[in-house]
Symmetry: C2
Subunit: 216 residues, 2 copies
């Protein structure tokens, strides 16, 4: 019954992430996210369905309860790895994604526990996303994208949904990282940029990027 390869973990993790904004996930989006051909994903999806890890209907792909459970375990290992990399090994937050994506498949339950304890039971990854607990429970906060704030609204950055290192580095250079307080000064009309104020400085920020920054 123990039928879990690194690749299966990778698929489940991707489906989980994509499910956040597209509930039944489409084959094509999944293929794009995994950087694989559509037929490869189509085939693997069939195997995942056989193993009862996903339901595959005309609407798209959904994780089953079991698939969800495994996905959250992988995400837990991914986010703990990221914290290990930044907090203990001195990586920057823009360098950790690819490293963690490899590490997450090489971490035993014992190591998971040891990392968690050594880090002092962190609640989030360096990008502000919650680390599922050992039972897969995720604490979810009600958040708003920065892009939806009105002029003069304030918020505290909780998470930054961005994997591109260049962009992450740029955001960090502006001080746009979790736990930081940000104020929207102006919102340009017609989908134009936001003028935001963060730790005393004023920056223009595109809507696209702003929508990836979640505040509370």
């Amino acid at each position: 019954m123990k039928a879990d390869t690194p690749r299966i973990e990778e698929y489940l993790e991707s489906i989980y992430k994509l499910q956040q904004d597209e509930h039944p996930v489409s084959t094509s989006r999944l293929a794009e996210h995994l950087k694989l051909s559509a037929p490869s994903v189509s085939e693997m999806t069939k195997k995942l369905a056989q193993k009862k890890l996903v339901n595959h209907t005309e609407k798209g792909i959904c994780l089953t309860q079991e698939g969800n459970r495994i996905a959250k375990k992988v995400i837990r290992r991914h986010r703990l790895s990221e914290r290990l990399l930044t907090d203990i090994l001195g990586f920057r937050w823009d360098e950790v994604h690819d490293e963690a994506c490899r590490l997450e498949h090489a971490i035993s339950p014992e190591m998971e526990k040891h990392i968690e304890e050594s880090l002092g039971n962190p609640k989030t990854c360096p990008h502000g996303f919650p680390i599922p607990d050992e039972n897969g429970v995720i604490v979810k906060e009600k958040l708003r994208p920065l892009s939806e704030l009105k002029a003069r609204d304030k918020g505290i950055i909780v998470s930054v949904f961005e994997e591109d290192p260049k962009m992450l580095q740029y955001l960090a250079s502006l001080g746009l990282i979790p736990e930081v307080c940000v104020k929207v000064e102006e919102v340009a009309p017609f989908g134009g940029p936001l003028i935001v104020c963060v730790s005393g400085s004023r920056y223009a920020l595109g809507r696209e990027v702003a929508s990836k920054i979640k505040v509370k």
Copy 2:
């Protein structure tokens, strides 16, 4: 030219280790060490020879210069991983081998550097074996197996060549770990046990085990 899979790394690492006491390594020993069938190893050896990573003659298998270079890089990552596991993540020395054997294939050159620096440039793994530097240079000391000491000889334990967790735990419980001073009180004749004195206590130790403990 970049043709390096985790399995190839594993083979090269095993060959390197076996070469320590059997110079051209035999297929059967390699198969035994890797816990694979002889034909699997025979086949892979052919591929390694094609890639110029080993020379395969009637005498057996030897690493080429390039094979040696890669093997040492893998061993470097293995031993750095072990140190990370014990020194930072709080594992015991008997728990780290299998973990490190997975981690060593998931560590980038950047991570290698970061681990090394975070650990304060350790010179050995928890079992006392030297960590090759970034250029693959290994500092080799002249060592004697504990089993070859005469009665009343003293030595400082440098390394313990043992992978079985049970045995490692046992040795640690006796205080037989690197950097510890050990004195041979008696040597029983006919290949019998040694009576050793370590940190004030006296223990009987089989020849077999004693030969895996290297002292200076």
